[in-house]
Symmetry: C2
Subunit: 230 residues, 2 copies
């Protein structure tokens, strides 16, 4: 049984469950992957904890992992990029494997035939500040670029907040503009490295951005299906 540590945000983890189902080859209910979703949106804001001394989310995350283990989970997927800033602490506190969303994103880049070059990474301010993507992608031979501070403040952070407040369609324009700026700076692909971002991007004419995209919700769902079937 797959354990999904969600609620960060709740729309992203619901979308993860939907995509997990749709991406699973199945003919009937009983062919699908058993899963438990722990959707606790009360987890303190991950970026605020990293950047401005906000409440530590680790006890909340660890409680979710324990709840999922008690429910019978054999592995954990976390459809929130920023929460992976506490990946090592969570791994140290459980004997369950935890799928890493950056590894899943890298596998999706390879699936799309992008095996080197410059990669744009969009994410929360917390994810970028803790350099969640750079070491793992650079070890694979990629060069990582991220939005500039002014773009984060004007486009990416407000776009993520719009999704979290259910104004999904309004999030498209600022998020697509930031992705387009990364393309203009030479990105061969753009990783949507916050699970709210694909929700906003997919709510508009995303093909017009003109660059391959990595949807980290789908990437983690595909990695989860590989775990369940492997």
């Amino acid at each position: 049984m797959l354990g999904v540590l969600g609620g960060m945000g709740p729309l992203a983890s619901a979308q993860f469950m939907l995509r997990l189902t749709l991406l699973t080859p199945a003919k009937r209910d009983q062919d699908h992957i058993p899963a438990v979703l722990w959707s606790d949106p009360r987890v303190p804001d991950r970026s605020a904890a990293r950047l401005s001394g906000g409440e530590d989310p680790l006890p909340w995350l660890a409680r979710g992992v324990a709840g999922l283990k008690a429910a019978g989970a054999g592995a954990i997927a976390i459809p929130c990029n920023t929460a992976h800033g506490w990946y090592d602490e969570l791994r140290a506190g459980t004997d369950l494997p935890i799928l890493h969303i950056v590894d899943a994103a890298a596998e999706d880049l390879a699936r799309q035939g992008i095996r080197s070059g410059r990669i744009g990474v969009m994410g929360t301010a917390g994810t970028l500040a803790m350099r969640l993507y750079q070491p793992r992608l650079e070890a694979l031979g990629y060069e990582v670029i991220v939005p500039e501070s002014a773009e984060m403040e004007a486009l990416v952070t407000p776009g993520i907040a719009l999704v979290k407040s259910n104004q999904v369609a309004d999030a498209y324009a600022p998020l697509a503009e930031a992705a387009g700026n990364l393309r203009a700076r030479g990105a061969a692909a753009v990783v949507l490295g916050c699970t709210e971002i694909p929700l906003g991007i997919l709510a508009g004419p995303y093909a017009e951005i003109g660059v391959p995209l990595v949807d980290t919700i789908d990437a983690l769902a595909l990695a989860s299906i590989r775990w369940a079937r492997g």
Copy 2:
């Protein structure tokens, strides 16, 4: 915390989580409703159990309720109409309140201003055989009509199976035809009384069916929000 006994099917319960989130007034993650989704698609087929002596799903359902209680749930929502055939047995085995999907559907009829008259109810063969909707809607003054046997075999049952096998768009035509037939027989509204049916209906131009619809996924999500906020 809301406990969601899902997986029947898994796409319907994922959609329930998505709609629960989108229908909740919220400005940030922390405004959303904490929930745990138990998505076990291995629960034996509910219609087969009722109609042809298939394996009893009750032990699987009760295990899910117990798992949700252990996770801290304060009430249970079950986004599967047919599973409500075991409602009384589940209620007898737990001290948690279980929201009833037929009550939620009736509340949605009233919300749409439909307070009497003939109502079409679509559902699985199991739901119709056990007359899940008739006593509750008739007690409120409605008259209930359902698809004829030939329509169940040719349209409704195959449409539900298409959703369960992820062929959601293909499910629209047969399900919409069955809903249109109920309208032609004088239904003032049609209750999509199997949580796969709204997924198929919403995948096509459902406004052309020309009759008010009750989406039992949304109806149960709205009832759940009332519970969480009340």
